[in-house]
């Protein structure tokens, strides 16, 4: 057990440390080159540098490589390659604005390293009921996981600090679940996710000094998805990020097509004079988690962020409880 604790501390220190050091350098570089975007929920003219993707990826890869040095496995190599591919996809969208279908389609490439290296189990574990052996179909599950989780995390990156703090909660939830399931080495793979997200949160919290951008959000999502696949905890991982899945579902079911936020005809929220956010009544605007939360009345950005994060804590508890009950009822 002591070797796991040491490994966790080392890869957390390396991963979190790299992101913590690189992010301010990246902020300065992006500001100097005027690579900034407006913060839609602040007073007019407020801009924030983006993307933080390079600092996120560097921290994650450094953390996972530190882990690899102590516990070498093909799974970790697959996780690093899959996450790096997602980063490239996101960076392409950051540099050159792509259409709505680009990210869902291009993220299929992030599944390729996992499939080629074979860093997955062909049995899909369903909580309470046991496993289903789907050797051929499971390849589709891997692709779907990477595409859905990557884009889902990207879709909740709408307020200062939400995506990074949500990933801290999700990473902790997944790590605890994997420990309960007895998959300690996969649980260690979550440590860089938590550390990097926590380091990013330091700069991303309200008021944000940097935004993750597509490269950052897709990197965060795909590192979570690939570690979940490596640990054989796909369904538990989906339960833990249910608020993000709910947000994507609400968005897609109201718009009835894949569309980028920038292509929306009407925004789901409007900024009041006192800088609080209110839900819009415009029928052309999408239904989102933020809009649903605002139906009970206007809120500040920090209040909405807290509400989303409490939902994240709730779903993480659901995931952990599911893993614990499954382990007792139907140990795999």
């Amino acid at each position: 057990m002591i070797e796991y604790i040491i490994a966790a501390l080392v890869c957390a220190g390396v991963g979190g440390g790299v992101t913590l050091v690189l992010t301010p350098l990246l902020i300065r570089t992006l500001k100097a080159r005027n690579i900034v975007v407006p913060d839609a929920h602040k007073s007019k003219g407020t801009t924030v540098p983006h993307p933080a993707g390079p600092a996120i990826l560097a921290g994650f890869v450094a953390g996972e490589l530190a882990l690899y040095a102590m516990f070498p496995s093909d799974g970790l190599v697959a996780v690093i390659l899959a996450t790096s591919t997602a980063f490239v996809v996101g960076l392409m969208d950051d540099i050159r604005i792509m259409g709505g279908w680009f990210k869902p389609l291009a993220l299929v490439a992030a599944a390729i390293p996992i499939l080629v290296i074979g860093a997955y189990d062909t049995d899909l574990a369903f909580p309470f009921f046991g496993i289903v052996r789907i050797p051929i179909l499971y390849m589709g599950v891997v692709v779907a996981m990477m595409v859905i989780i990557g884009n889902t995390l990207n879709s909740i990156d709408v307020l200062n600090g939400v995506a990074s703090a949500f990933m801290v909660i999700a990473g902790i939830g997944l790590a605890i679940s994997l420990c309960i399931m007895g998959r300690h080495e996969a649980a260690l793979g979550c440590v860089p996710i938590i550390a990097v997200s926590l380091a990013l949160y330091h700069y991303h919290k309200n008021p944000s000094k940097i935004f993750p951008g597509n490269s950052g959000a897709l990197t965060l999502g795909c590192m979570y998805g690939s570690v979940a696949i490596m640990g054989g905890a796909e369904v538990i991982a989906a339960i833990i990020i249910l608020p993000a899945i709910l947000n994507s579902f609400l968005f897609l079911s109201s718009m009835r097509r894949v569309i980028e936020h920038r292509e929306l005809q009407a925004r789901p929220t409007r900024l009041l004079d006192d800088l609080r956010l209110a839900a819009t009544d415009d029928p052309r605007s999408p239904v989102t988690l933020v809009r649903l939360l605002l139906l009970s009345g206007p809120m500040t950005e920090s209040q909405i962020t807290r509400a989303i994060l409490w939902l994240g804590v709730f779903s993480a508890c659901l995931g952990i409880a599911t893993a614990a009950i499954s382990h007792v009822v139907n140990p795999i």
Partner: protein, 78 residues
């Protein structure tokens, strides 16, 4: 602030995942082929399982849409 319905929605999503998993495990999971079954038969069975899984997802989305409309309407009038 009344966000209890959104928590109920998340809990509902969780219940649907668990129920869907039960159907997949107890129904689809019990369908097996003999060890010496040929590859086309294995692929055909996988395709059938895949189609059933997709149908389950469609039912899942349909139920969620109904729940979403009810929550959205009730929150709007709250």
């Amino acid at each position: 602030m009344n966000h209890i319905r959104i928590y109920a929605f998340v809990a509902g999503l969780w219940a649907l995942i668990i129920i869907g998993g039960g159907v997949v495990t107890l129904v689809l999971g019990t369908i097996h082929l003999e060890e010496d079954a040929d590859t086309p038969t294995k692929i055909a069975l996988s395709a059938v399982k895949g189609i059933v899984a997709i149908l389950l997802i469609i039912v899942w989305i349909y139920i969620l849409n109904i729940v979403k409309r009810k929550i959205f309407a009730s929150q709007k009038h709250a």
